[in-house]
Amino acid sequence: MKKTGAQIFIESLRMEGVDTIFCYPGGATLYITDALYYASDIKQIIVRHEQGAVHASDGYSRASGKVGVSLVTSGPGATNTVTGIATAYMDSIPLVIFSCQVNTMLIGNDAFQEADIIGITRPCTKHSYLVRDVNDLARIIKEAFYIARSGRPGPVLVDIPKDVSANIGEFKYTDKVSIRSYKPTYIGHAGQIKKAIKLIASSKRPVLYTGGGIISSGASAELLKFAEKLSIPVTNTLMGLGGFPGNHPLFLGMLGMHGTYAANMAITESDVVIAVGARFDDRATGKVDEFAAHAKIIHVDIDPTSISKNIKVDIPIVGDSRHVLKKMLDFIEEDKEDTKDYPASISEWTKQTKKWQKEYPLTYLKDGTLKPQYVIEKIFELTKGKAIIATEVGQNQMWTAQFYKFLKPRSILTSGGLGTMGYGFPASIGAQVAFPDKLVINMAGDGSIQMNIQELATAVQFNLPVKVVILNNRYLGMVRQWQELFYEKRYNWTQMDHAPDFVKLAEAYGAAGYRIEKEDEVETVLKEAFQNGRPTLIDVRINPDESVYPMVPAGAPLSEMLLV
């Protein structure tokens, strides 16, 4: 069937089941923009900045598990997506980013609004394509979606020159993709899995250390079953939050720089670490040499490059987390001999981890001032853990990770790997598009929110009732905290006393605005804000001196935590 490139583009999206794109127009998108005029079945969320488009598609993807899609124009449109792409790449989020490009004849001529976006994004995409012939367009789109969602997921960029979107070509959408050089391994090696079980069975102090792989492979049910069966304590990375119920008795909390005492001590004292879908990020491990120094390490990861990159692994298992956990459970069922003493044989250990939890819980000084932790605890109480929570980056992010109990996978959207300020608000817009009826809250700081605040217009235009809770301390709080601890309180660059009046700003955009200044206002204002059905900013004036604890100083071992 003959179609224009723009029509092929739309038909291909339909074949992939895409119902939403986040976009921003420009000269090079015009044929596609025009063709989309007739495609009312595809929701087109027009943002205010291309970075917002990619973060929104990223939030959409993290919340729904589907591939997020964005479309931007050439040159500056494309370069504005880089931060969003790098964010998704670091956190292995499946996205397909369509950037439009100048006419093929003009490529390389320094044409108006031309940028070599393939070259610019090469280090932060899983793969990328420049479409040079309209007849390749459908195949490339098929491959792009396949690559984005398979194996270790990630962002794929497709660059479509304007003439390709105008030219007529054959539309044929194949069912199958076969790329001879790309065959991800899902099935973990049976021998290695058995070896791992034997090692676990012989251990006295095992701990499960699980990450974003649990979420992306949909392995949380298997993880829960596995942990409960053997009664092994669980710690999550930031990316893994929600992969294991945050209120479960076996849950130790997050580990790492701002992890709980119990989680960090459990890792330090363990004799076997079962790492599943986690990549030993430096924020999680602390000083590498002293990370689980007495433990044998089992590492399950779909990406072989993650294995033995930072930490030497004793039993590597390349495969999908869900498959491997399932296989482990099967093997335990088949051969009960191995683990017959479990969980009794590790009861001393589980007692010890409980003791740590009891002795050093996450806490904060209750001194009558308005504390961010209190606000987050209240939000958890009011939402009963059922909201989708996005965060920005910094103190707001860490307090949220610590004090909101994530019960289900895909309930936290946060930039773990790249640490992108400005991520949370557009991401929450994406999540709200995916789930119009759910309560979506963005936990923000007064610094971060100003990085993509223009998307308030998008939220208002598309009636997306996102709630932005600004933990406003008039500082770039996390940097301030480091200056306080390690730079003798020289607060250079971190005082944000020239912020706008957020309530008036919200109103100027047509959103609702609230302010909270005292503890006793928190509950009533939040309740009202959560029920008002409108995009909302809530300016919460927290105690500016509050810091995030526990804290492991950079380069120190996990056991050396600064407590409250």
């Binding site: 070259g119 090469r122 790329i179 001879r180 050089s181 790309y182 072989p304 490059t305 033995s308």
Partner: protein
């Protein structure tokens, strides 16, 4: 430690920069890189000489494998293989030194491929040691310019590296042929 790696890649534009970008972006070192089409025109071979300890090499091999356009990666370490590079060298050649240069080129099984009143341009192929030795010998005569490829490598014997097959270790056949 020095390593020679062969990488079979899709013969498409942009692949070279993905490989080179991987090395530079991750702080790996490339000593030399040779690229050309194979018997199958849809596939190219890249021969890369790099250095690093075992952990770095492991990352290099894994990261290369991870690139979508990479079909196969072979580390020649532990394999029985042959490797050659080629040098073009322009040497000052006057009445006094012409004889000497000609003789040396013959000894090293090189070729004089261009002659002027004042110079010889000599082509020489071989492994790194041989080339080094030749250059050392002619250095006193006055090297005016020098261009060299990096090494290319192949497993000895009848074993081949194919995109579709897992290869096994090289054989012993013809071990002493050059």
């Amino acid at each position: 430690m020095r390593h020679t790696i062969s990488v079979l890649v899709e013969n498409e534009f942009g692949v070279l920069s993905r490989i080179a970008g991987l090395f530079s972006g991750r702080g790996f070192n490339i000593e030399s890189l040779c690229v050309a089409e194979t018997l199958d025109p849809t596939i190219s071979t890249m021969t890369i000489v790099t250095n690093g300890n075992d952990a770095i090499l492991e990352q290099i091999l894994k990261q290369l494998n991870k690139l979508i356009n990479v079909i196969k990666v072979i580390d020649f370490q532990g394999l029985d293989y042959v490797s050659r590079e080629m040098v073009l060298v322009k040497v000052h050649a006057d009445e006094k030194t012409r004889e000497e240069l000609l003789r040396m080129t013959e000894i090293f099984r090189g070729k004089i491929i261009d002659v002027s009143l004042k110079t010889y341009t000599i082509m020489i192929t071989g492994d790194e040691e041989k080339i080094k030795a030749f250059l050392n010998l002619i250095k006193p005569l006055g090297i005016k310019e020098l261009v060299r490829t990096g090494p290319i490598a192949m497993i000895r014997g009848d074993k081949t590296i194919k995109a579709s097959e897992k290869h096994s270790k090289g054989g012993e056949d013809g071990k002493n042929v050059l």
